[in-house]
């Protein structure tokens, strides 16, 4: 599913964000990426949906060889990857339903299917009755649910979540985590970068710790392992 072979990433300013990452993430896994700020977690995630290119090394995602992937083909890679961010990244002028439908318009899905599927995923994230609300009328947790609905609406095989609970209070965070777990149960791989010790230690999953651009720990049902 996701395979990295000695992947390096050096930014133009000379920062070595990743220094020889080798890892395999299989279908249907739920993986936490942990580590101090600036350790390379975000870069690791960006490589997967091809916002950044590796400087060196091999990288396969969903059968795409990202080393050889042409610029024009990037959209097709991304259609199989759902992304969720700490700051939700919703379109402010669109309602919850429109934000979700938007991801389907982009891939030119039939109009009828868009309507049906949008309502389906909104129901799944528990926001069916908030379909017509605009982002500024929703709480952080609700906005993140919309973002997750948008990420899964096209049935991607992977969800990349970069600190999805970073801006949420503990109770709301748990709601989001249960939702992600539910999505994972339905067969979607989840790769989630997080600083949330409590979540990692309670909802036990595979933990990959990155420090200074290197994987220092990779455990099945691991712990957070940092003192915050």
């Amino acid at each position: 599913m996701i395979e990295m072979q000695d992947v390096w990433k050096t930014y133009p300013d000379g920062t070595h964000a990743l220094r020889g990452i080798t890892v395999t993430i299989n279908r249907n896994e739920f993986v936490y990426i942990v580590g101090p700020s600036g350790a390379g977690k975000s870069t690791f995630m960006k490589l997967i949906y091809r916002e950044e290119r590796p400087t060196k090394g091999q990288l396969f995602v969903n059968g795409f060889n990202l080393e050889k992937l042409r610029q024009r083909k990037i959209p097709y890679l991304r259609r199989n990857i759902g992304v969720v961010f700490q700051d939700y990244r919703l379109l402010p002028r669109m309602t919850a339903a429109e934000n979700v439908a938007f991801a389907m318009e982009v891939i030119e899905a039939p109009r009828k299917l868009i309507k049906k599927r949008t309502m389906e995923v909104l129901e799944l994230v528990g926001l069916k009755d908030r379909a017509d609300a605009y982002p500024n009328q929703m709480s952080g947790g609700e906005q993140q649910r919309v973002a997750i609905a948008r990420a899964i609406v096209n049935n991607p095989s992977v969800i990349i979540a970069d600190e999805p609970t970073g801006n949420l209070d503990p109770e709301t965070s748990w709601g989001i985590m249960r939702l992600l777990e539910e999505i994972n149960f339905r067969g979607t791989t989840i790769v989630m970068a997080t600083h949330n010790r409590e979540i990692v230690n309670t909802m036990r999953k595979r933990v990959i710790a990155i420090e200074k651009g290197v994987i220092v720990r990779d455990e099945v049902r691991g712990e957070y392992g940092y003192e915050d």
């Binding site: 959209p75 990244r89 982009v106």
Partner: protein, 309 residues
């Protein structure tokens, strides 16, 4: 764009493009106005050029070569010269005008009063020489043809042609003037179109900056570049269309009035203004076409850089 676009997608692009024309209110207004003004001036030039060309063509078509023969030319020699001239490739028509007919023509031209003066010059008293009038296919070849005719005559040793006349100098001048008008018009219009294009590019850039986040999100969910590009494309085309329809309407209405009001004066000056119905398709087609081109081009240059990321 390798697969056919769905109708719902086309509708979406049109809607988005139209929306952002309104959203950018003042900038849209400014760039459509810039196009309008440029195209208006271009239109004035077009109408001017069309009319001058028409006038030049009229004048050119009246251009002919008059050849006056020596008085002692024999009918055989005249016949031979006639065939030789008719054989030249530039020549479309040769007409022999015997001196009697020449006299009649002269009488007609100077009118009744003058005709009295010419009384008594008929028959053997006729002082006029026999003549040819020669028409050419291409007005611009008139001096070359005249030159060839003289050449023919010189080779004979004993010249038959007494004088040749084709408005030497005047014709060349006329061609030079129409050329200058054409060049100045093109240069002016190119400059204006360029300015308008940059204004459009700026307007579109504004849309892009305003929608930068949105574009980023579109890319994250897997939108292709062409999907992102289309609404901007349409926005540019709409600005171009709005900016060109206005001057077309104003120009043609104004021109129609002008033609109606000045018909009498112009006829006196022997200038025939082209009727509106004849210029309308050309002017409208050209202006709207150029307007669309400017709009689309403007939007292209502003998104190109942006989509590279």
């Amino acid at each position: 764009m390798n697969t056919a676009m769905k109708i719902s997608t086309v509708a979406r692009h049109l809607r988005e493009g139209g929306r952002s024309v309104f959203r950018n209110g003042w900038m849209s207004f400014a760039s459509a106005s810039a196009i309008s003004i440029s195209l208006f001036i271009l239109g004035v030039f077009l109408l001017l050029t069309f009319n001058i060309n028409q006038w030049a063509r009229d004048v050119e078509n009246q251009v002919e070569i008059s050849i006056f023969l020596e008085l002692d030319a024999t009918p055989e020699q005249i016949n031979l010269l006639h065939t030789e001239i008719a054989a030249l490739e530039e020549v479309s028509k040769v007409r022999f005008i015997p001196k009697d007919e020449g006299l009649e023509l002269l009488k007609e031209r100077i009118g009744e009063d003058g005709a009295l003066l010419l009384e008594g010059f008929e028959g053997d008293e006729n002082p006029l020489p026999d003549a040819f009038t020669v028409e050419v296919y291409e007005p611009r070849q008139v001096s070359a043809a005249a030159e060839k005719i003289l050449e023919l005559d010189r080779k004979r040793g004993e010249p038959l042609i007494w004088r040749i006349n084709y408005g030497q100098g005047t014709i060349e001048m006329l061609f030079k003037i129409t050329d200058v008008i054409r060049i100045v018009g093109i240069a002016l219009v190119a400059g204006l179109a360029f300015t308008a294009m940059f204004l459009i590019a700026n307007t579109i850039k504004l849309t892009i900056v305003a929608r930068r986040r949105e574009i980023g999100i579109m890319k994250l969910v897997g939108a292709t570049n062409s999907f992102i590009r289309w609404p901007f494309f349409i926005e540019g085309a709409l600005l171009g269309l709005i900016g060109s329809v206005i001057p077309v309407v104003v120009l043609l209405a104004g021109y129609d009035q002008l033609v109606k009001a000045s018909r009498l004066e112009m006829t006196v000056l022997l200038i025939r203004m082209i009727p509106v119905s004849e210029v309308a398709p050309k002017v409208a087609g050209l202006l709207i076409g150029i307007g669309l081109l400017i709009g689309v081009w403007g939007s292209l240059i502003s998104i190109r850089k942006f989509l590279k990321v």
